[in-house]
């Protein structure tokens, strides 16, 4: 597929989706990603623009006619809720908004797919917050060493495994002790 790694338009399902739209219906908010062509054709309200709401309703009625309401509903994945904030997965699908940072873990499978579609990647390569850099570096190392430990066990290099195990234990203990406040 030529458009591999990109999310496709929610209307035509052909072109790459580059615009986020919001429909506000009473107190229900629904977001979708659509392509440039469909955006200009249907002239709906861009979330961050000052266009009229009327166009959006037009967009949605066209959308429902084109795809059929049942088909749209069938796209919604099974009902589960975030274990941290209780936001139903369905709400995320409707609004394209997550409830809390914990949703990223609760809905990890679906989000991995979505993030890959939107960004073509799932690994952060940008700035790390100053206050968290050290902590994160450490955790990263623990993760790395655990991987090395598993590999050492696999090839039955028990000396290396024991050494790694001790270092991991030390680092985990260090992480648990709260840092001294000056």
């Amino acid at each position: 597929m030529a458009l591999h790694g990109h999310r496709l338009c929610d209307i035509c399902n052909k072109a790459r989706a580059t615009i986020k739209y919001t429909r506000i219906d009473g107190d229900q908010v629904r977001e979708m990603l659509i392509c440039q062509a469909c955006a200009s054709e249907h002239s709906p309200l861009h979330r961050h623009s000052e266009a009229e709401v009327g166009g959006l309703q037009k967009l949605f009625s066209t959308l429902l006619k084109e795809k059929g309401a049942s088909e749209l509903a069938a796209k919604v994945e099974p009902t589960e809720c975030c274990s941290v904030c209780g936001t139903p997965f369905e709400t995320y699908r409707k609004t394209f908004l997550l409830g809390c940072p914990g949703c990223y873990e609760s809905f990890a499978d679906a989000l991995t797919i979505d993030l890959r579609k939107i960004h073509g990647a799932i690994t952060h390569r940008g700035k790390v917050p100053e206050g968290q850099a050290e902590e994160i570096e450490q955790r990263e190392t623990i993760v790395g060493m655990k991987r090395q430990l598993a590999e050492a066990v696999e090839r039955e290099d028990f000396e290396a495994a024991a050494h790694l195990r001790d270092r991991i234990r030390d680092m985990e203990r260090e992480e648990e002790t709260p840092p001294e406040t000056p």
């Binding site: 790459r16 440039q36 955006a39 961050h48 908004l97 990647a121 390569r125 700035k127 917050p129």
Partner: protein, 355 residues
């Protein structure tokens, strides 16, 4: 509480800076959330209050972050909120959800920090002209300072965790607002917009919809926020904008070389309408002002009219700004169009006579 009338001589309206002929302004926005708290739209009022308090504390203890003016959205009128939105200092989202929302402004509104928008923190820096890197540097510095006092919702794997997955990772949206009358008049805009969209950058009309933007103003921004560093995101955007500037210049040169009477006619007809009309709606006014901008760039107004004048006019002709000038909070369409026409006639006469 009343908001002090916005000073439209503010820096980012100046209409100066690199490539000011094509690039009106540059902007960088960062989305951040506090760890362990639901995102703004899910958080309980108590949690939203706590978020607002923690952000206020962080801003007050960090020495480099003094001098922010705090505007509590629930304490100002609907009309005043609309004024802030028209001046691009708050988003429509923040205008709608005023409770527990605030905006901090600093450095003549060049920096704005929205609290309890879709994300707990939406901070942006705007610069006049083509200065995306400068805008990023300014907001990055504020982010670094805030991060010493706030624990962000951050994952080593995914980066900054944001309410919408379109912002996950760096949370960075870098953009440039471009005036592209050459490409529009040459009929090349649609293709170019499509090309850019296929390359992972979003182009949207600044006023209006799709590829047809009133005023020929287009905002180009990055879409990808995850898997690239901030530097890669910005240099990618600059690459796209550089090309657009080049195409725009080529189109304008060609138009002026081959169709000078047509272009000049459209510039002067626009001036005539703007300085004589008795009723004018905002989309017509914005389109005509675009031709005046082209006229400024072509040296047609002998510096009597400047980019700064135009940038101001684009904001001053918006409904809430017009109404507030008359001390009104609202007006019907026709009287608003009449007020707009009167305002433009007067303004253009003042500008032309004072210079």
């Amino acid at each position: 509480m009343t908001i002090p009338l916005l000073d439209l001589s503010d820096r980012w309206f100046a209409g100066e800076g690199p490539e000011a002929r094509t690039v009106v302004s540059s902007r960088c926005r960062l989305a951040r959330n506090l760890a362990g708290v639901p995102f703004s739209r899910t958080a309980q009022p108590v949690q939203q209050e706590a978020v607002a308090r923690r952000i206020a504390d962080a801003l007050s203890v960090e020495a480099g972050l003094k001098g922010f003016q705090r505007i509590e959205l629930s304490e100002i009128s609907t009309a005043e909120r609309a004024i802030l939105r028209e001046a691009h200092l708050i988003s429509p989202e923040l205008e709608r959800h005023a409770d527990h929302c605030a905006v901090y402004l600093a450095d003549n509104a060049r920096i704005s920090i929205m609290v309890n928008e879709e994300d707990h923190l939406r901070m942006q820096a705007i610069e006049t002209g083509y200065r995306v890197r400068e805008a990023h540097r300014a907001i990055d510095e504020i982010d670094s300072r805030l991060s010493r006092h706030l624990t962000y919702a951050f994952s080593p794997q995914l980066g900054h965790l944001t309410a919408c997955p379109t912002n996950t990772g760096t949370g960075l949206r870098a953009s440039a607002m471009l005036h592209l009358p050459g490409l529009v008049l040459a009929g090349r805009i649609d293709r170019i917009v499509k090309d850019i969209a296929n390359n992972g950058y979003a182009v949207r009309g600044f006023y209006g919809e799709g590829t047809h933007s009133a005023g020929d103003l287009y905002q180009i921004s990055n879409e990808v926020t995850l898997g690239k560093s901030e530097e890669e995101i910005i240099s990618g955007l600059l690459g796209v904008v550089d090309q657009l500037i080049e195409h725009e210049h080529a189109s304008r040169d060609e138009l002026f070389a081959k169709r000078r009477p047509f272009i000049e006619d459209s510039i002067w007809r626009s001036y005539a309408t703007l300085s004589q009309a008795r009723l004018i709606n905002s989309s017509e006014a914005i389109s005509l002002l675009s031709r005046l901008r082209l006229g400024i760039d072509g040296g047609h107004f002998n510096e009597r009219l400047t980019h700064h004048d135009l940038n101001r006019l684009l904001i001053e002709i918006q409904p809430a700004h017009l109404a507030s000038r008359r001390g009104l909070t609202d007006a019907d369409d026709e009287s608003r169009d009449a007020m707009r026409a009167e305002f433009l006639r007067q303004r253009l006469a003042d500008i032309v006579s004072s210079n």
